[in-house]
Structures are given as structure tokens and as C-alpha cells.
């Protein structure tokens, strides 16, 4: 299905990442957002508040992030595509409702413009330190999808992707910006609506008497309905059977939670997006994502000038973690270099997937600014030696 032209501002624009993400959401068909102001993400909802009434959308500023993160889920069951936006402490408050969305299979999108933490930390400065929180922050076992744009253009493109994935797999999907990407202004091309592929909501074609709310269809994902259509659905965060009724037994837990996991992991190859460059024949591969991938590029170029055989792997999908590509590269190189704006988060995954077949060297940074490319270069040279 193509995008609704009403929401697509086709043309070339100069936008920062926050604004571009908002346009991505609207192009993807989002017509509802709830939020609570927090730097450096507020611009996303500020723009949405301005745009919503001109595209048949609704914005509501809620009393806190606990509210915003569940209001959007009410809206989804009411029959719209919805998202919320936050940073830092606001993201911490949303954790319970990530689990609720995962458990109730409510398709929705969270945009997190990361800032330095813990606590109030660095309200106006960048970090990439919510990468584990986004994956593990709610209690229990579940899977989510997280995407990491490194430019305003990608903020637009990947927010559309996020909505598409959320409808396809019925999971909460996260667009993980950082303050720099959120606030940098660059050219953003918004294509014509008919060139934007949109995943529609998969409303069931079945009659109410034949329909079970959590009966998996293709891809292990159940079809949806909206409230008011005569299906008398029951949605609960308790462990439930295919009718959606509570069934708090170990066998039901086993079936349900394993499906929530496998519907994502069995499709990981389709969800895992990455950019690979000069990896074949490389001695060192730099694994990075988000703003750090752009700083790392400088270090990679400098290393190449010095004759080092260095490749680049840019993660676009952080979760599910692209295990396969890492484990395939691992035995062919001397080591991975993993710079990130945190004290070592995704690097643990790289190391796990490398499985001892190669070295994994972290270039950590407590956040507040981007890396000095030299620190990455030094790690590359050290591994190449």
C-alpha cells in the first residue's frame, strides 16, 4: 500500500532529525501522538501538534510519560497508528508499557532521542546509552525492534520503516536517535506518496464468531481488529490464550512467550538492516551505529590512508541484534572495533556473537559529545598490528 498523499510533504527540505522523524511518522500513516515534553525530543511532537489537525490527526499532551506510553496504545486499539516520543528520564518511565505493548501485541512506535544519563544527566547533550534499556527495560522475556538512524534523512526513512515493522510483526518498534542526529539539520528528500511503501494494519477478514484475537496467522502474527467493530475482544497484559482470556499456567506461558520471541527472531534476517563496506579481506571491522557511525567513518578513512585493511559495518537495526553478520565476519578478521557513546553496551553483543573467534575492542565514551575520531583510529591501529 502507498502512503496517504495527505500526509506526505513531497520535496526537498532542510530538516533536523527530530522534524524529519515526525514527517516520517505522518507519511507512515500515524495520525495520533501523545507525549510529554523533554529535551532533546520535544521538537518531534511540537511539529506533530502543528501538522496533526491538517492531516486528520490528533495530538494530546499527557500529564507524564507513563500516560503517554499507554494513551497511544488505547488509540491503536481505537483504530489509528500512533506513536510517542521521549528522552532520558521519560524513557525510563515508559518501561512498563513497552512490556504491555509486547504482551498485548499492540503495534506502536516510540521515538527516543537519547541524551546523557543516568538520571537527569545531560539534558541537551548526546549519548547512546539506552541501547540495552530499550531491549531489556521492561520485565519479563520479550522481543522488540530498534532502529538507529544516523542522519535526518534516515530519521524520516526509518520512522516509516518502524511503523511498517510494527504493523507487520505487531510489536513496539523504537527509533533510537541521539541528540546530535536529532538536532542536526540536513537535506531530507521526501518522495511522492506513491513511492512510499506503507504496511497497512492487518484487520481480520473473519466474522466475529470465527475470530480469535491471538490466533497466529502467517509469520506467527495474529490479525487485528479495532474496538467498536462487534468483535467483543478482550485484551489483557496477563498471560492469555488465543481468545485473549487470562490463562496463567506454565504451558500457556510457554506457548505465548515463546511465540512473542520467535515471531521476531525467526524473521531476524528480514528485520536486520545494516550497511557493510570493505569487509571482505579486512583485518579490522569497525562496528558502529547512529551518530557514532559518522565519526567512525573519519577514523576508517584515516586508517585506510595509513594502509590498514579496515572494513565498516554500520548497524541500522540494533534489535533484534544482527547476530549472523557478526558471526560470519568474526573468523575472517583480526578484530572488531566498537565505538559507542556509552561505556559498553552493544559491544557486548558483538563480543557474544564473535564467539571468541576474534578480538572485540570497545571504544567507549561517557557521552556529552561525540568521539574524537583519533580514539577510534588508535583502536583500529592497535587491532591491525
Amino acid at each position: 500500500m502507498h502512503a496517504d498523499p495527505q500526509g506526505v510533504l513531497t520535496g526537498a527540505h532542510f530538516l533536523d532529525g527530530d522534524h524529519a522523524a515526525c514527517e516520517g511518522a505522518i507519511a507512515a500513516g500515524a495520525r495520533f501522538a501523545a507525549g510529554y515534553p523533554i529535551t532533546p525530543s520535544t521538537e518531534v511532537v511540537e511539529r506533530f501538534a502543528m501538522r496533526a489537525p491538517t492531516v486528520g490527526g490528533t495530538f494530546i499532551q499527557m500529564e507524564d510519560e507513563l500516560a503517554a506510553s499507554i494513551t497511544i496504545q488505547g488509540a491503536v486499539w481505537g483504530g489509528v497508528k500512533a506513536f510517542t516520543v521521549t528522552s532520558g528520564p521519560g524513557f525510563s518511565l515508559m518501561m512498563e508499557h513497552i512490556g504491555y505493548a509486547a504482551m498485548t501485541e499492540t503495534p506502536c512506535v516510540f521515538i527516543n532521542v537519547q541524551r546523557g544519563g543516568p538520571s537527569t544527566g545531560l539534558p541537551t547533550l548526546p549519548a547512546q546509552a539506552d541501547m540495552m534499556q530499550v531491549r531489556w527495560g521492561s520485565h519479563g522475556d520479550y522481543e522488540i525492534i530498534a532502529l538507529c538512524p544516523n542522519s535526518p534523512q534516515e530519521c524520516f526513512d526509518l520512522t516509516i520503516k518502524a511503523f511498517n515493522f510494527s504493523e507487520q510483526y505487531r510489536v513496539p518498534v523504537f527509533v533510537m536517535l541521539d541528540e546530535v542526529v536529532g538536532h542536526m539539520t540536513e537535506k531530507v528528500i521526501i518522495p511522492p506518496a506513491e513511492e512510499i511503501e506503507i504496511e497497512p494494519r492487518h484487520f481480520t477478514k473473519k466474522a466475529p464468531k470465527d475470530f480469535r484475537l491471538y490466533e497466529p496467522e502467517a509469520n506467527q502474527v495474529p490479525d487485528m481488529v479495532k474496538a467498536g467493530d462487534g468483535y467483543n475482544i478482550h485484551v489483557t497484559g496477563l498471560t492469555h490464550d488465543q481468545r485473549g482470556y487470562p490463562d496463567m499456567t506454565p504451558p500457556m506461558q510457554d506457548v505465548l512467550v515463546k511465540r512473542l520471541q520467535s515471531k521476531i527472531l525467526d524473521n531476524a534476517d528480514k528485520i536486520c538492516l545494516f550497511e557493510k563496506e570493505n569487509v571482505e579481506g579486512a583485518d579490522v571491522v569497525v562496528v558502529s551505529y547512529g551518530i557514532t557511525s559518522r565519526v567512525a567513518q573519519r577514523a576508517v578513512d584515516q586508517a585506510r590512508e595509513k594502509g590498514v585493511k579496515v572494513g565498516k559495518l554500520r548497524l541500522i537495526t540494533a534489535w533484534p541484534f544482527p547476530e549472523r553478520v557478526i558471526s560470519e565476519i568474526a573468523p575472517t578478521i583480526k578484530g572488531f572495533v566498537v565505538p559507542e557513546l556509552n561505556l559498553g553496551q552493544m559491544v557486548r553483543e558483538v563480543e557474544r556473537c564473535a564467539g571468541g573467534k576474534t578480538r572485540t575492542v570497545r571504544v567507549s565514551h561517557a557521552g556529552g559529545t561525540v568521539h574524537n575520531p583519533e580514539s577510534i583510529l588508535n583502536a583500529i591501529l592497535e587491532v591491525a598490528r
Binding site: 496517504d4 498523499p5 486528520g56 488509540a75 483504530g79 497508528k81 506503507i198 467483543n232
Partner: protein, 304 residues
Amino acid sequence: MSSVAIPQNPVEPFLRSERMPHIWCPGCGIGTTVNCFTRALLDSKADLTKLAIVSGIGCTGRVAGYTNLDSFHTTHGRAIPFATGLKLANPELNVVVYSGDGDLFAIGGNHLIHAARRNVNLKVICVNNLIYAMTGGQTAPTTPGDVITSTAPYGTYDPAFNLPYLVEAAGAVYVARWTTFHVRQLAKSMAEMFQKKGFGFIEVLSPCPTLYQRRNKMGDGLDAMKFYKQVSKIKHGAPTSEVALSKSGEIVVGKFVDRERPEYIGTMNTYLEQQLGERYVEPHTLSDDGGCSGGELEVISCNR
């Protein structure tokens, strides 16, 4: 409305019979409130297809799961913001929030006052058993003084909320209180609230014999009915500042507030339309094919 001769229990179609028996204890008041609720739906001839019920977590939170409606059992305290999203996205729906005192006034208190402030068209039914029942009878913000709870083994000294007073101050257009002894009045009051536009609130005092009454040597469910009968006074229009509860004092019941205030969604749409004129597009849900264009895809100029 008095009942006509119907062979089955007239409230049965409103319940998910396949989920019976329910989890509530003998003598618990929650079931009685559900009976009144279904009665009210019957009497108000509500379009059940367009009725959704949202609960939080607790013994009362389980109500959503037993009603044969679009029903949502959300997270602890967050029924109201969920309901707000549901209603805003799909204003055709009549949305009822059905939850416990702890859920609505402790963990969810902030959401409740803000929804009342906005005057979102939600109908809130709060089963007040003066305790956190589901978790074993801990002190709630509604527990009166000098009461034994599992977390106040020597008795409570925290001051309690006066719910009608709080909700009126926050902006609700309809506020009433009944007990599970007042089944006819309660059903009638619910039906009346459903007709009203805006944020409506009914507090129902309801016994928890298993935890609250047992610990406080207040007898069983029947004793609770006797107690309610004895100490309740119907005072419609009573100033809500004067209806605070105590452990064994008077329970003022009745309809306290019935007023008009601009309802949220109508106000929002009218206001935005006025501000934006031609540029305003009314919100709509996804079309049946899951797209967001409301059906027809009319290709308007793409190269602005």
C-alpha cells in the same frame, strides 16, 4: 425500569459466561456492582457494539475480563490514559473505566485528575473497598483512620482522600456515591451518568469481607450490607467537602454533582476547525483495508 418476564437472567448476555466462575470471594461486593452495571446498560439501551470497558489492575480490575464487550485490562493505574487514547482515536465509542480505589487514586491518581480537568468523555466507576484487595489488604489512599491493614498492623494514621470532593475539584461533570446496598439507585445513577457528556464519576462503597472486614472484625458480606443500611444517608446535592468517610461514621450517598462543562473532544475539534479553517481535517480511524486515507485514495498534488 422494572423487569419484564424474560426466562434467563437478563444480565447474562452482558457477561462472558465461558469465563465463569469468576475469581471474586463469597460476599464480595464487586459482582453486585457488575450486576448494577449490566442493569444500567439494559435500561439505557446502550449500543453495546460501541461500548468499551477499560480496567486497571486489582480485584475490581478483573471486571473488564468478565463483560462481553470490547474490554481492556491494562496496567495498574493506567486505565484512564488508555481509555483517553481509545476515546480520542475513536470518538464513536462510549468508554467506561471500571477500576478499584487504589488503582484510580493512588498509582493512577494523576491521570484521573487530568482526565477530569480535560473533561474527557469517560465514565468512571470506582469500586471502593477501602483497601488494596488483590495484593492482600494493604493500606490504600482511601483507607480511613484507625483501621487494621496488612501494612498497618497497629492501625492506620495516614489521612484518606475524600473521592467525590477531589473529583469535583478536578472538574468532573457528574459525581455520585452509592454502596452495594443501594443497588437500584446505583444502576439508575450509572444509566444517568452514561447519558451525560463529559467526565463522570461514581464511587461505589463495596465490601471486602476477606481482607478489610476480617482484619477489622466487621463480619461478613451480609454484615456489610447491614452496616451500609444503618449508616448511609441519602443527601443529593450534598457539598462534597462534607462527605468524607470514617471507619464507622455516616456514609453520605447520592448524586452530588451534575453540571455542564465543555467536553474535550468536541471542544478540540471545534476550536481547531475555527483556528485552521479550510486547512482543518477531521480525525479519522484507519479504513477497513488498514490504510489511513479513510477509504478512497484521492491523489492530490504531490509536488507542492
